[in-house]
């Protein structure tokens, strides 16, 4: 299985080389082979007596990240969808994408996506799953941005990335949390330990984080907004990623974790709630669209919502219907996207207001479209698979079981009505899509291109999918037991008995609901112009696009204003902020740990001469602030430095005193030299408030250090290592002057690098001055 997952990645490496021959042979032919191989590999597993297969390959065992593949019914359903539709889409793309396009890039992204998607649905290891999950988002980003010279592409790509990666990161948080709680990185392992998770105090957070991942990926309200903009991608991509496979990863995730979460009432409330809202909102919004692909995008949103809702119901029948609909949706929606691509390709527009009457020009496409769209509408005909799953959906919606939870109970009573409401609009947009494009007598000459039927190669893929619609409709048994049944069992988490799919279950409530949908749907479809005005009011403030645009824009503007508020380039401001932070935190820490101590032990006696020197230094230090002239300020600074050398003398540090004396003299001289070239000192001209602030900060800081110094000196708990130096300076170091012995011997390394610092400084100064002279010279 590892090879099957890695095959697309390996193939992707070779695509850039193959695409060099694209003039001779379209790269798509090679690419079509890859999903075909994968499909053949996996289809062998399907069958009535299917049993889950597990295979493990080590990757990072010390981090518990390994390729642990678990192929159960749910994974098998997805794997076959991914590879099967992959073959059709790759084949279709050969005719859709001209050789002059950057085919290499396209197929690399395409294969990376396919491999990642296979990885998502096969990985039992949560972190491997997450890795592949993010890669589907990234490849989707690149595919949406394929025609990146278009502004819409760039906008759509960024939007899809931000929203899906946001969800991905939420999911990551949840996965890490669950793996920490259960001490395993295996999904099956987590399900076995579900008690630990369900009873954890942060369980609600975990549930919400997982669902954020699923909802963003599967375009559930209110995160659905990225999907319509993703339609900027080439149509094969829309058919593949944004309808048949990637957007179903969220459903996969919910299905995968259902055995764990389903016991929680909140799982039902959130998943069904958001699912049913998405169903209604998506189908309602689809009717308003004018772009064929936008209609299909909202339709996809709505259908995903429907499946999500069914997963939320959690009953055996609902789960079965969900699995069944995942397959059905892929067949009819995939073919409709391809038809939309054909229409776009052959007429030059996808604007339904310009289209019409194409039936006579494109009879085959029209035939495919009519079957697929009626199936999507759930029209009660025995050869349309969409009808079967819609019927099962209604059946599931009215048999939600008993509950004691009041929110759940309320939703139980509401869901059947919402299901019918959403389905009515589904019916309306399905009719709108087909009849708006293919019937009516529009002026064909106004189209950018003269329409004609697509080349046969382009029709094959949608035809195969429509064939699937009919075959599943006519012979549901073919796929039920070997396939859907196992998927449903896997989602449900226990073996369920085979659910029979039949066309006629008697004149019962689900059928009445279906007929209601057809009746009301027809009326609304025919009278569409008369009630279209509602769209002016209803999406209005609910438009999540505005919220997204506002958020992104505000992120940038707020970031700029927050950052500019403190990063204004003012050194004094930086110092104030830094010093205040250190001051406040350190004082707090000192207070909390009772750090301040005060003791007169070990202190030297006080003599007048020292007091005098100290006072002079203090006065001089303050004097530097009030000094008016440059010269005065520098000389006063010198007083402080010389005062310090006197202190060094008093405190028995002759070497220091000497060094300080020399250095101070040179420094003062340097100050004088340099500032000869600088403007005169201006009065300080500070605002009173800033004087006060500066005073508080500087005095506060001085006080802080003084307090720490006094405390440190009062806490001399250990003998200094200095004793060793005094004892051994002569014996081992060979010198009387202990300080010198330390400097050249015990701490010779310090001295070496102190000289290095001086050397660097000298070179740097030399460089600065020389480079300047050169500039002046030239």
């Amino acid at each position: 299985m590892l090879f099957a997952v890695l095959l697309p990645f390996i193939a992707a490496i070779f695509i850039p080389f193959l695409s060099k021959w694209k003039e001779k042979i379209h790269t798509g032919f090679f690419v079509t082979l890859i999903p075909l191989v994968v499909f053949i590999y996996f289809v062998r597993f399907a069958g009535n007596d299917f049993h889950p297969v597990t295979q493990s390959y080590d990757w990072m065992p010390s981090l518990d990240i390994n390729f642990d593949f678990h192929l159960d019914g749910l994974s098998l359903l997805f794997v076959l969808l991914i590879s099967g539709i992959g073959v059709l889409v790759a084949f279709y793309s050969i005719y859709y994408l001209h050789k002059s396009e950057q085919l290499g890039n396209f197929y690399v992204y395409f294969l990376i996506f396919m491999g990642s998607m296979l990885g998502v649905v096969l990985s039992d290891n949560v972190f491997v799953l997450y890795s592949f999950w993010e890669f589907t988002s990234l490849s989707s980003f690149l595919l949406i941005g394929y025609w990146n010279h278009r502004k819409g592409s760039r906008y759509g790509a960024l939007k899809s990335m931000l929203i899906t990666v946001f969800g991905g990161l939420s999911l990551l948080g949840a996965l890490i949390f669950m793996s920490v709680i259960t001490n395993t990185t295996s999904i099956q392992g987590m399900i076995n330990e579900k008690g630990l998770i369900l009873n954890h105090e942060y369980f609600p957070l975990i549930l919400v984080l997982v669902l954020l991942g699923a909802f963003t990926k599967s375009a559930q309200f209110p995160f659905h907004i990225w999907l319509p903009d993703a339609m900027e991608a080439p149509t094969p991509v829309s058919a593949y990623l944004h309808s048949a496979t990637m957007v179903k990863a969220g459903l996969y995730l919910v299905g995968r974790y259902m055995p764990l979460f389903a016991e929680s009432d909140w799982f039902f409330i959130l998943v069904s709630g958001f699912g049913i809202i998405t169903l209604c909102w998506g189908s309602y919004m689809a009717v308003r669209q004018t772009d064929l692909k936008a209609i299909l995008a909202f339709s996809t949103i709505s259908q995903l919502g429907m499946i999500m809702a069914m997963l939320g119901f959690g009953t055996k029948a609902a789960v079965f219907a969900a699995a069944f609909h995942i397959l059905n949706h892929a067949t009819f929606k995939g073919s409709l996207f391809m038809v939309a691509g054909i229409v776009d390709h052959e007429t030059g527009t996808r604007d339904i207001r310009k289209l019409g009457g194409l039936l006579t020009f494109m009879p085959i496409s029209a035939t495919l479209a009519v079957i697929a769209s009626f199936s999507m509408a759930g029209f009660p005909l025995p050869f349309l698979n969409g009808f079967y799953s819609k019927e099962l959906f209604f059946d599931a919606a009215i048999n939600l079981g008993m509950t004691t939870n009041s929110i759940k109970g309320f939703m139980h009573s509401l869901i059947p009505y919402l299901a019918v409401f959403g389905s009515i609009f589904t019916f309306v947009y399905s009719m709108y899509f087909f009849f708006g494009t293919f019937t009516g007598g529009k002026n064909v000459s106004s189209l950018p291109k003269k329409p004609h039927e697509a080349p046969i190669g382009m029709l094959i893929s949608p035809a195969v999918l429509v064939g699937g619609v009919l075959i599943i409709g006519l012979f549901p048994k073919l796929i039920n037991q070997p396939f859907i049944h196992h998927a449903a069992s896997a989602i449900y988490g226990a073996e369920t008995k085979v659910h029979h799919i039949v066309f006629w279950h008697g004149f019962k409530l689900p059928l009445i609901m279906s007929l209601t949908v057809v009746a009301f749907g027809s009326i609304l479809a025919l009278s569409r112009q008369r009630w279209e005005w509602v769209y002016k009011y209803v999406p209005g403030f609910l438009s999540m696009n505005k919220a997204y645009d506002g958020l992104v824009k505000r992120t940038e503007t707020y970031s700029a204003s927050i950052t500019n508020a403190y990063m204004n380039g003012s050194l004094a401001r930086y110092f104030r902020l830094i010093l205040s932070a250190i001051l406040v935190v350190t004082f707090i820490v000192m207070g909390l740990t009772s750090g301040f101590t005060f003791s007169f032990a070990h202190t030297a006696d006080i003599t007048w001469i020292e007091i005098f020197v100290a006072l002079v230094m203090a006065a001089a230090a303050i004097g530097t602030i009030v000094a008016r002239g440059r010269l005065a300020a520098i000389i006063i600074l010198g007083v402080v430095g010389y005062g310090l050398s006197i202190l060094f003398v008093i405190y028995r540090a002759p070497d220091l005193a000497l060094t300080q004396l020399i250095i101070e003299t040179i420094t003062v001289a340097l100050f004088l030299m340099v500032f000869n070239h600088l403007p005169k000192l201006a009065p300080r001209n500070e605002k009173k408030s800033s004087v006060a602030l500066n005073m508080i900060i500087s005095i506060g800081f001085g006080a802080l250090l003084t307090m720490i110094a006094i405390s440190s000196h009062s806490s001399k708990w250990f003998d200094s290592i200095a004793e060793f130096f005094i004892k051994n300076s002569y014996k081992l170091g060979g010198g009387d002057n202990i300080v010198n012995v330390i400097l050249v011997d015990m701490r010779g390394l310090d001295t070496l690098f102190e000289i290095t610092v001086l050397g660097i400084a000298a070179l740097a100064i030399y460089g600065m001055i020389r480079l300047n002279k050169k500039k002046e010279g030239s």
Partner: protein, 112 residues
């Protein structure tokens, strides 16, 4: 005495910081010099003052002042000197290039 010296060193830090918060480069440079003085005085004080004779071995004397802080201060003084000289030349060059010695006028903007 250590307490008085700690206060003095703290005061040197305080006046140094006050100068550091000014606009003109000269005042800022003076501030850094004061802060180094403060730091060195702290090191000396922390070693204990006048605990014995100067740390030069003389026969018959047993108590010496702690030599280690003195060695550290020496290293630090030299380093500070290097940094200060660099700072001074840099200040001169920066003031020359930017046409001002006022740091508040050297804020810069996003795109330079």
């Amino acid at each position: 005495m250590e307490i008085i010296m700690s206060v003095l060193a703290g005061l040197l830090f305080a006046t140094g910081i006050y100068n550091l918060l000014q606009k003109q480069l000269l005042r800022i440079a003076i501030g850094t010099a004061l802060i180094s003085h403060g730091a060195h005085l702290f090191i000396l004080t922390m070693g204990g003052l006048k605990q014995g004779a100067p740390p030069i071995l003389v026969e018959g004397i047993k108590d010496y002042t702690d030599p280690l802080p003195q060695a550290l201060i020496l290293t630090s003084i030299v380093i500070s000197f290097g940094v200060t000289s660099f700072l001074l030349v840099l200040a001169y060059r920066a003031a020359e290039e930017n046409g001002t010695d006022n740091m508040e006028q050297m804020r810069g903007n996003e795109h330079d």
